[in-house]
């Protein structure tokens, strides 16, 4: 028990006030007195009867009420009951189930029978009264001979026990049980073991009959006592019993009626009825007691004595009631604690692992405003930590390019890794306050870093950069509001403070995190969380943005762009950043209900609403590339049974080699995704029952309530083509990102540079900046960044950096761990890091990403280590 204060001490916790020998002496005395009393009752009943029934017995309820332990320790019956145990000749039997159930009931019955019989028998007969005393003493002794502890009499069938438990439930004076040395655990809810809680425990027992017997008794007690004092003397036995039964019955009826009507705590009414019974008793008994004492003493007591007794005991009862109610509150509090019982233990293997995990995480991130403390291992990104800490944060490319996860560093900036180039560009584009970092890039090096998940707004908006403005250029139009368009607009504004910039966008959204649209499907993100720019971004930069407005045509000769709404924009320079659409190969039966592509946020929201509306259960994703797998994962998270069909021999074949593809496939299989490789899709068909299937050659039809095509991108080249620009797969551009028209540039998915249109964010960002620079007259050539991609499936940890297919002369390091779904591969070419695949090795993502992107030279020590299979040399 946790409480510092013990409200309910058991007898072992109660201080002993009286030495043990003293109790023994008192017991010998009490047995002698009892025997003497019996003799007196037989020999001199005219003296014995009033002494016994009117003077001694009426004192007992008050003793039970005030110091019940006194009677429990000196009662002559208890003394005899414990004699066999004391001298070691008890048989020490345990109660049988039946005895345990009914002994208390026997005690109640005996009490009722004996007390009611006083009226016609015991009060008048000394012999009967003496026999009663001897019966009590003998019964107690016999019980002690047979049963262990006090279970033979005192705690079972003793007729005084029910009264003692009612009146003695809230003792004013606690006396330590001086009998049981030691406790043998003979009785349930033992009164001698824990006097302060025994009655409460009875009331709260989960067996309704167990508490029921006790409630029955207390319910009838006040009526029973009234009956005792209201029956005229000299009635025949039958009428006496009838009178008692009537009064007790009425009392019991009242008890149960009130029990139903008053919503008192479990022990509330029992305490109230106990108090009533006690005071009824003394209301009547006080007078007869005083007169009997007076008679026996030979001098009449003062007339005020009975009323004094009544009032004193009534006041005492008020205190008793209050204390009982308070104690029931404590009891409920304490037992509630135990009822919940959350105690569990961890297996033996836990300690070492917990110690390690705790020791590994010496650094700490504190997240405002609720000061959530996240332990951190040095080297971890803030994004990982915040995500693992259960905080809500968005994420996109996870390499600092997209700008999905800006956070404010409130304290401890010095404990973070320095800002890299990509991150610097992104931070500049976003234009938040100086304390902003991209969570995916900032790594904690040690110590404590305090962050807020919302970036602070900048004090003064950035208007212009260092490069001189070209005054000839007055108007720049950018078609497209994706990352390429926005980056281009940003860089134009940075280099030219006052030209007009128009951004024309067909979608009705400001720049958003396209990489996270699959999260819209399973509801992890809402659209609001996907916007990548601060609310006033366009306005602060004085950029006119035309959302929900398609560009209709370009007139290169007139240098105008006609918008679909009839508006015509003039331009000095035009930057095409129209992006791409999903590429949908010809598929038989494609295009009906449940067929989707995933390119825009609206696509994702349509998939979600269709899945919910149609109660779809099965989904097929055609295409096992990055987007296809992320879409499949999103549908899986929605609870659909998902199959991925891929025409190549392994998944992510543009990012991974075969082993890598198999590793991720096994992981996705374990998640519950069905993967079909080398699949030749014959079409989408609907059977007679209306169920849609994907028909794959040589495979059983795969149910496809939802059919998503993720087969790559098709650049949006219609405008450029119509304008007469040179177009291949996309708009052909030179190193300056210039198209065949000198005033028109292209960047992002719509640009084809050296025959390549990879459709990746870092490419778009880089190209847009180059296009913006050149459009303003600055000469700058585009150089393709080393590409890295990442699969955003929770737990998969797939990263591919640079190239993965070895060429002649490359040195290749490969390690596969099938059981743990891990795989790593490193290509070294000409002494430099040339490419890597990392699956399930998050610790290597950053150092290898940096090394490959920077085309870093590999040291001899690193080479030697790798050749010996020691990859840790790279960390």
């Amino acid at each position: 028990m946790s409480s510092a204060i013990i409200h309910f001490p058991n007898y072992l916790q109660i201080q002993s006030r009286v030495p043990l020998w003293c109790w023994f002496a008192l017991r010998v005395g009490s047995v002698a007195c009892a025997l003497g009393m019996a003799a007196l009752l037989v020999l001199k009943p005219e003296l014995g009867l009033p002494l016994w029934w009117s003077v001694i017995v009426p004192v007992l309820p008050a003793v039970f009420f005030i110091a019940p332990g006194l009677w429990r320790n000196v009662c002559p019956m208890a003394a005899l009951n414990q004699t066999p145990r004391l001298f070691g000749f008890t048989m020490g039997r345990t109660h049988t189930r039946r005895i345990r159930e009914y002994s208390y009931v026997v005690g109640i019955a005996l009490f009722l029978l004996l007390v009611s019989s006083r009226k016609w028998l015991f009060d008048q007969s000394g012999v009967a009264s003496a026999a009663l005393i001897l019966f009590g003493l003998g019964g107690a002794f016999l019980g002690g001979l047979i049963f262990k502890g006090k279970s033979g009499w005192c705690s079972s069938i003793c007729p005084m026990l029910p009264v003692q438990r009612v009146y003695g439930q809230t003792p004013f004076i606690m006396l330590r049980n001086a009998h049981c040395q030691p406790c043998v655990g003979c009785t349930k809810n033992c009164y001698d073991f824990n006097p302060g809680v025994a009655y409460l425990a009875d009331q709260y027992d989960e067996d309704p009959r167990y508490s029921g017997y006790r409630r029955l008794f207390v319910g009838l007690l006040p009526g029973f006592i009234l009956a005792f004092f209201t029956i005229p003397n000299g009635q025949p036995a039958g009428e006496v019993y009838l009178h008692f039964a009537l009064y007790a019955g009425l009392s019991l009826a009242l008890f149960h009626t009130l029990d139903i009507l008053l919503k008192l705590p479990r022990n509330g009414l029992t305490v109230l009825f106990g108090a009533l019974a006690f005071n009824f008793y003394y209301w009547f008994a006080a007078a007869s007691w005083a007169s009997s004492v007076g008679k026996l003493a030979g001098t009449a007591l003062s007339d005020a004595v009975p009323m004094t007794i009544r009032v004193l005991l009534a006041l005492l009862t008020l205190a008793w009631l209050t204390r009982s109610v308070i104690r029931e509150g404590w009891f409920r509090e304490q037992t509630a604690q135990e009822t919940v019982n959350l105690a569990t233990r961890l297996g033996a293997g836990a300690s070492a692992a917990l110690r390690e995990a705790s020791a590994a995480a010496q650094a700490e991130v504190v997240v405002e405003p609720d000061q959530r403390r996240l332990p951190a291992a040095a080297g971890a990104t803030l994004l990982e930590l915040v995500e693992r800490g259960g905080c809500a944060i968005e994420s996109g490319c996870r390499m600092g390019v997209c700008g999905a996860d800006p956070i404010a560093i409130k304290d401890g900036m010095g404990n973070l890794s320095p800002v890299g180039d990509d991150e610097k560009n992104t931070l500049a584009r976003l234009g938040h306050a100086d304390n902003t970092r991209m969570a995916c890039c900032a790594r904690i090096l040690g110590g404590t870093v305090t962050i807020a998940l919302k970036p602070d707004t900048a004090g003064a908006p950035i208007r212009s950069g260092k490069a001189p403005a070209n005054p000839d250029i007055k108007q720049v139009v950018i078609i497209g509001n994706g990352i390429a368009g926005v980056t281009a607009a940003d860089h134009v504004r940075r280099r030219h403070p006052d030209c007009e910039i128009h951004v024309v966008a067909a979608e009705n959204h400001a720049l958003y995190n396209r990489m996270a649209i699959t999260r819209l499907i399973y509801g992890r993100s809402a659209m609001q969380g996907l916007y990548l720019l601060p609310e006033n971004w366009y306005k602060e930069r004085n950029i006119d943005v035309w959302l929900n407005t398609a560009a209709h045509s370009i007139d290169p000769a007139a240098r105008t762009v006609a918008l679909a709404d009839g508006e015509v924009l003039n331009y000095d320079k035009l930057i095409l950043a129209t992006g791409s659409n999903s590429f949908v190969p010809p598929i038989n039966g494609y295009g009906g209900d449940g067929c989707y592509v995933l390119r825009t946020a609206d696509d994702a929201m349509s998939v979600r609403s269709y899945a919910q509306r149609s109660q779809a259960r099965h989904a097929v994703v055609a295409g096992g590339g990055l987007l296809g797998l992320e879409a499949a994962y999103a549908l899986h998270k929605m609870g659909l049974r998902v199959s991925v069909i891929e025409r190549n021999a392994w998944l992510l074949h543009r990012q991974l080699d075969e082993k890598g593809g198999l590793t991720i496939q096994r992981y996705l299989n374990s998640l519950g995704l069905n993967i079909v490789l080398n699949a030749q899709l014959d079409g989408v068909v609907r059977d007679d029952a209306g169920q849609q299937h994907a028909a794959v050659k040589d495979e059983a039809a795969i149910p496809a309530d939802i059919f998503v095509v993720a087969a790559g991108i098709a650049p949006n080249i219609a405008l450029a083509k119509a304008a007469g620009l040179t177009v291949n797969r996309a708009v052909v551009v030179d190193d300056a990102m210039r198209s065949s028209d000198p005033h028109i540039y292209a960047a992002g998915d719509v640009a084809e540079w050296q025959g390549k249109a990879p459709g990746l964010w870092p490419v778009a960002v880089e190209q847009a900046e180059v296009a913006a620079c050149n459009a303003l007259g600055e000469a700058r050539d585009y150089a393709e960044p080393v590409l890295s991609t990442m699969l955003k499936v929770v737990g998969a940890d797939v990263v591919s950096i640079g190239r993965f297919a070895p060429q002649d002369g490359d040195e290749v390091f490969v390690e596969e761990d099938v059981a743990a779904h891990r795989y790593r591969k490193l290509l070294v070419a000409g002494g430099q890091f040339a490419g890597a695949i990392l699956i399930g090795w998050p610790a290597f993502n950053e150092p290898l990403g940096k090394a490959v992107k920077g085309r870093a030279a590999i040291s001899p020590a690193q080479l030697a280590g790798l050749r010996a299979g020691q990859w840790d040399v790279l960390l």
């Binding site: 028990m1 009822t339 105690a343 917990l354």
Partner: protein
């Protein structure tokens, strides 16, 4: 109803209802535990810090590595009352993990410490990476939940002892 502590007679067969606390992942190796902790949310807490608020919709179950927590529920007059203590190296919160319903009670720290939360998502990652271990986790959580349920409903046969 847990009345046993009032009547802890210290006699071996006298209080049969006090059973030892159930063990979570008793057979798991340290390596298994490493795998489990690797997918968990890790948090540090100070005295008085509220880790769960009644009614919130978080779904993790928690492993207390260090420290002590108290479970608080509204008692008389809406005042929060402690209904249980959670010591270190124990688990809690598995109900919401399974049923996704709002948390039934608040949890505050009474001693500083650390805890690890396993969300259903993290569990899914574990299940994909280490299905055997995940099965053991699930089975043990179910067992603990069942024992707590038993504890709450009470033993029907107790009255006949």
């Amino acid at each position: 109803m847990g009345l046993s502590s009032f009547f802890d007679y210290g006699v071996p067969d006298a209080s049969p209802e006090t059973e030892p606390a159930p063990v979570f992942l008793g057979d798991a190796s340290t390596d298994d535990w490493r795998q489990l902790l690797a997918v968990a949310e890790h948090r540090r807490f100070d005295v008085g810090e509220q880790l769960i608020e009644a009614g919130e919709r978080s779904r993790a179950f928690y492993i207390v590595g260090l420290g002590e927590l108290e479970v608080l529920a509204p008692g008389k007059g809406g005042r929060l009352q402690r209904i249980a203590l959670i010591g270190q190296q124990s688990i809690f919160g598995e109900q919401a993990f399974f049923d996704g319903r709002p948390r039934s009670a608040s949890v505050c720290a009474t001693q500083p410490g650390e805890l690890y939360g396993i969300t259903p998502e993290a569990f899914e990652v574990l299940a994909a990476r280490a299905p055997e271990l995940a099965r053991a986790v699930l089975f043990d959580l179910g067992r603990i939940l069942s024992l707590r349920l038993r504890n709450a409903t009470g033993n029907l046969f107790k009255g006949r002892r």
